[in-house]
Amino acid sequence: MSVDLEKILRPVDNPMPPFPPKYMTIASGEEMVIRQVSRDEIPDILPYIESLMHVERDFYDIVAARVYAELMAYYRHRVQDEYVLVAQIDGEIGAVVNGRMVNADVGMSLHTLALRRGLRIGAHAFAAKMEYHIDIMKQKEVLIVAESPIGFRRWMIEYNLEKRFDTPHELGGVPSWALTRELFDRARETLVVGRRPVPDKLLEKAYAAILPPSDPPTPPEDLLAATRSRYDSTGTALMAQRWRQEGKV
């Protein structure tokens, strides 16, 4: 008698309402669409994430590695009740965010990864994720952690998150922070933006293809420099290397 192990291994997803796409103007004046992606689109995104696994800057390496695994698990049906949203500017990927529905009342924010920096793209995508949990899925709260100081500033400080330190987060088992409905309502006016419906032309462009990031984060010029600088304040060995790398002299 054969046993279909896949039926055992594959979790059965609970129904989740779709995230209605929205759009907004970012600081550059460009229009950005945030929409949910289907499982079939995950292989299009993975190569953009993979290259960031080697960016040892602002914790891009660890976040990219984890996002890659989470997206792969979603694609291969090894995680339950996950969703993925992307932010696109003229088709180009600007950010990826994902999370999970733990139960009807609680959401689990997984990651926010900005592939273009300096224009609050990641922050807009995070806000959309919170909107999905609180407004669309009608959950009471979302559990959140930050892996980088930038994330801490963006989520814990800007949203004034509550401590839920007795609840381990799914990311590393570390103490959770929580965005409650009340906190989200307070942030709604200033942090949560976007317009619906998305004009057909913008939406068509977004669905046509997820294009590669035009200016993705890059590795630091010297992987050892950050460590060296803590111990050696007078060394000059890196100088010649930097000279060559910058190619400016």
Binding site: A27, S28, T236
Partner: protein, 391 residues
Amino acid sequence: MRQVYVIGIGITTFARLEYPLCEIAAYPAMMAMKDCGLSGVDHLYVANMGGGRVNHQTGLASAVVDSLSLTPAGAETIENGPASGASAIKQGFLAVASGLHDVVMVIGAERMREVNNLEVTDFIATLTHPLAEYIYGVTLPSLAGMFTRLYMDKYGVTARHLAMVAVKNQNNALLNDFAHLHQEITIEGIIDSPEALTNNPYVAEPLRFFDCCPVSDGGACVILASGDVAKRLDKPLVRLAGLGQATDTHTIHERQEPTDLLAVRRAAGQTFQMAGIKPADVDVAELHDAFTILEIVESEEVGFFNKGEGHLALERGETSLTGELPINPSGGLKGRGHPVGATGVAQAHEIVLQLRGDAGRRQVMDARIGFTCNFGGFGNNVVCLTFIRES
């Protein structure tokens, strides 16, 4: 006094630099030495504001002079708040002009991003009055916010004018490979769109996010020399023709008219008088736009425009890269970045680059006279410099 020339320049990328403060100082120095072709200097001044506090590094000049194998040249660290860079250039000028030295290296370097933004804000706030300002939570953005509100009420400057400065300078920075910010921004994105308030939130009302300079690491260097030395080199002759420095009350509330920046007015007047020129003679300027309002106000105080009319000149495009008087072609502090102790030297670097005709895509046509304004405290210690191309 002898005449003083800039014979060598160098700069690092302004960004978050993941190498030690000493190397941030040494790297542009090596570029400047390569630029002028000299292998030694008589004396070295290093401008730095926060090494002791932020980087646990004091006596920076002593470390740098050894790193560069320039011992036994004299070396001193100069600290004058955010005006440290131009102050160090002033010391270098005096050393050469007096005949004490023939070749002097001036470096500005700062590594601010070793600590988080809250610590940096606190570090910068230490230049406010400890008992009348700091203990009440005053920070530089908060002072600038109050100043901006007064200026808006009095002279009709609007949030749109401030945003125009931000857009102009940040877009100039797109043409500068060494600049910190390389993101194009638009008025639509930061002022007009329904999402603008989130894209560009208030930091210290009425100042918003894009009205404030970034926190940067970076270094810059200029090498000053006597005419005898400069004329032996195969470089366009750029003379440091004038310098001026003035101070004002430590606290703003003690000023008779808080919207006047008298130290800027006086320092600019001195440098123009020393150089024998008028403000209208200036072809290109680097002003200290730590906050967008400062570019507008400084452009009036130094005499480029009448008081209260700087924003109108901005509207007319006079300060754009192709305008009559381009201001901050490098991107300024807003776009190039503001590693505090390095800024004054970086301003001089940009002006020399412009006067040599080496500024590439952001070159101001036929620039012959350049001006810098390096603004310390909240206008309580200001150093202005004038440069003239002679050949």
